[in-house]
């Protein structure tokens, strides 16, 4: 069980971090080159019009007033309106439309990482120093080393261009139109009851989630291996074997459960990097999530969108890390001390 004190302490520690993150995000707008009012008005707008927008945005107020307003609005999840990308639309709305796309990619990517990573790690540990072990370890290191923006195009080249068995980019074939209910295209396609649309969505999801999942797969299998190796040498494992239990059952029942604890941490921490990898994966596969949105927003100077996206990423990252800590303390109560 998790103690309330631990949770409270952990949450209190978050306060300065959250405040720091908010301050940094506020600073993005004010430290960036260029006048936001000019960005909105366009290069040919009159000076007068730009002034008007400046005062509308409150850019002439003292900086602490602007800071206070930013924090107050942020608490109410109001990050202002988009300057350029979807001019005049609240940033929150833009993010709400785009976020599920990224979330879906990250979930499938992480699933791929877990499904392949954990068995590979166990295999590697149980058959330590065998050819399988070496291959898995080299494979894992290669997986970490190959950049998404190279492996992605390579897979597109092989499976889409040369073999023509998978679609190149996008989220679903243009033959199908699916109503956005959850924003997760595979789920929406399934809800629409159109099996072909669902299959198309899955096909489109295959390469991106594999590319983004390789990195998690590598880290998870590595952590699983070293954690398993450590557990295998524990006394209770010998006891279990000594009382006549089979090797496989011992590994799975006594070893796996205990070895999983550090792996849970790495899965959580990985989810954060996965969000970072989403930026590159979305760019390569032309998937319109918040990663591509951020790159677009930086390029055109749409700062409210930049602020909202960065804040959302930081919020998710922090939330996941908190979740990891809490899970860890449930799995291993000693950690609280």
């Amino acid at each position: 069980m998790i103690s309330k004190r631990f949770l409270l302490k952990r949450l209190l520690l978050l306060v300065p971090v959250v405040l720091g993150v908010a301050t940094f995000v506020f600073a993005i707008l004010h430290l960036s080159p260029g006048n936001p009012a000019r960005t909105i008005a366009g290069q040919r707008a009159s000076e007068e019009f730009v002034r008007q927008i400046e005062s509308d945005l409150g850019l002439n107020d003292p900086i602490y007033v602007q800071y206070g307003r930013f924090l107050w609005n942020a608490i109410q999840l109001d990050f202002g309106n988009s300057y350029v990308i979807r001019r005049g639309t609240p940033v929150t709305e833009v993010l709400r439309d785009r976020f599920p796309v990224t979330l879906e990619l990250a979930i499938y990517g992480q699933l791929a990482g877990i499904v392949f990573g954990i068995p590979l790690g166990i295999l590697s540990a149980v058959k330590q120093d065998s050819v399988t072990d070496h291959l898995t370890r080299i494979g894992a290191l290669t997986g970490i080393s190959v950049p998404i923006f190279w492996s992605g195009p390579l897979l597109i080249l092989v499976f889409a261009t040369m073999l023509d068995v998978l679609p190149t980019t996008g989220r679903i074939s243009s033959d199908y139109s699916v109503d956005a209910v959850t924003g997760l295209i595979t789920v929406d396609a399934l809800l629409s009851g159109n099996v072909d649309a669902f299959l198309s969505a899955v096909q489109h999801m295959l390469l991106p989630s594999l590319v983004i999942g390789v990195y998690s797969m590598a880290l998870i299998s590595r952590m699983m291996r070293s954690s398993m190796l450590e557990v295998i040498r524990q006394d209770y494992m010998r006891t279990a074997r000594a009382k006549g239990q089979g090797a496989k059952i011992t590994v799975m029942k006594h070893g796996f459960r205990n070895a999983l604890i550090p792996v849970v941490t790495i899965i959580g921490i990985q989810f954060g990097s996965l969000l970072g990898g989403a930026v590159l994966t979305e760019t390569v596969f032309n998937i319109t999530g918040i990663g591509v949105l951020l790159v677009e927003a930086i390029s055109v100077g749409d700062y409210p969108v930049v602020q909202g996206t960065v804040l959302l990423f930081a919020f998710l990252f922090t939330l996941v890390n908190l979740g990891v800590d809490v899970t860890y303390s449930i799995l291993d109560p000693r950690i609280e001390q």
Partner: protein, 322 residues
């Protein structure tokens, strides 16, 4: 080392000897040298360094950046491609082993010069973040109290972002460019070093001999330089090596996304970006394949070495492995 012999030496000698002695006595080096994968990594890195230095010395950057199309029509190589168009269409030939790009430039030359750029900007990034992190981490551990709190909470804020995201947010402030990307990534990596160093330093500071040194009248500087840092060198080196690969990938990623190298620069990230945009679906796979191959190989080299170093370092791992 007995106390009699050391007391006769000068400070500097003593320090030097202490360091190399420690290195020789530790199983770190022998452990590392017996790790074949780590040696393979070292080999790859050395190869890339040779390629990079050779490219820097013998290739002319301006010529590499310049468009060859039209300006140099007599590009026919020994293998008989008569026109630039033919050269573009042949992925690999004797004159251009990696083919030429859309502008008729030799990809082999560009990729080799890219190695120099990757190592140059990667080295500056890693060196700067190591120096900053070591400084901040040591100060935080040594002085403790509000200084520690201020430094480490700031690091926490930076760690609250996925690394590439923070780099992008900083690029939004600084603007595009390779040096700006280096500054952004330096800030991104500094907290990792600060954490590692602070942890290592705290462990050292707990030891009784530090108390003895201080009570003998040693100044802060002496304690930090002679006792704290030498003991933290191993974890710092491992972290730097592992970060090297990451830095090279992230610099390339920023260029790939359009916030790094400027047009024409033979940076791997930019070559990949152009190659994917313009050549992937039209069948010019070599435009993006070779820059990516070199990038992946370089990063693999650093990861193999760094991984071997970590295994050699961590005694818990060593126990588990043998």
């Amino acid at each position: 080392m007995s106390s009699e012999t050391t007391s006769q030496r000068t400070d500097k000698d003593q320090y030097r000897r202490g360091f190399f002695e420690r290195l020789r006595q530790s199983s770190f080096l022998s452990e590392l040298l017996s790790n074949r994968l780590a040696l393979l990594g070292l080999g790859i890195i050395l190869l890339i360094v040779v390629v990079a230095v050779q490219a820097r010395l013998f290739l002319d950057l301006e010529a590499i950046k310049a468009t060859q199309l039209g300006t140099n029509p007599s590009m026919a190589g020994p293998c008989g491609e008569r026109s630039v168009i033919a050269a573009i269409q042949s992925a690999g030939s004797c004159a251009h082993p990696m083919g030429t790009d859309l502008q008729g430039r030799d990809i082999f030359d560009r990729v080799r010069y890219g190695a120099w750029l990757a190592l140059k900007y990667g080295t500056v990034t890693v060196a700067a973040s190591t120096a900053l992190g070591v400084g901040l981490g040591t100060i935080a551990a040594y002085y403790g109290g509000w200084i520690d709190n201020l430094i480490m909470r700031t690091m926490d804020v930076l760690l609250a972002f996925p690394s590439l995201l923070l780099a992008l947010a900083l690029v939004a402030i600084f603007g595009a460019g390779l040096w700006k990307a280096v500054i952004a990534l330096t800030l991104v990596y500094t907290p990792r070093f600060a954490r590692v160093v602070r942890g290592a330093a705290l462990k050292v500071l707990e030891d009784e001999y530090i108390e003895a040194t201080v009570s003998l009248g040693a100044r802060d500087r002496r304690v930090i330089l002679r006792h704290v840092l030498p003991n933290a060198i191993a974890p710092i080196t491992v972290q730097s090596t592992l970060n090297y690969g990451l830095a090279i990938i992230d610099i390339a990623a920023l260029s790939f996304l359009g916030f790094g190298a400027s047009a024409g620069t033979p940076s791997w990230g930019l070559m990949l970006s152009n190659g994917v945009d313009q050549g992937l679906l039209s069948g010019h796979w070599w435009w993006s394949f070779f820059p990516g191959l070199l990038l992946a190989l370089t990063v693999l080299g650093f990861n193999l070495l760094g991984d071997g170093m970590r295994d050699a370092l961590d005694p818990r791992m060593r126990e588990a492995v043998d």
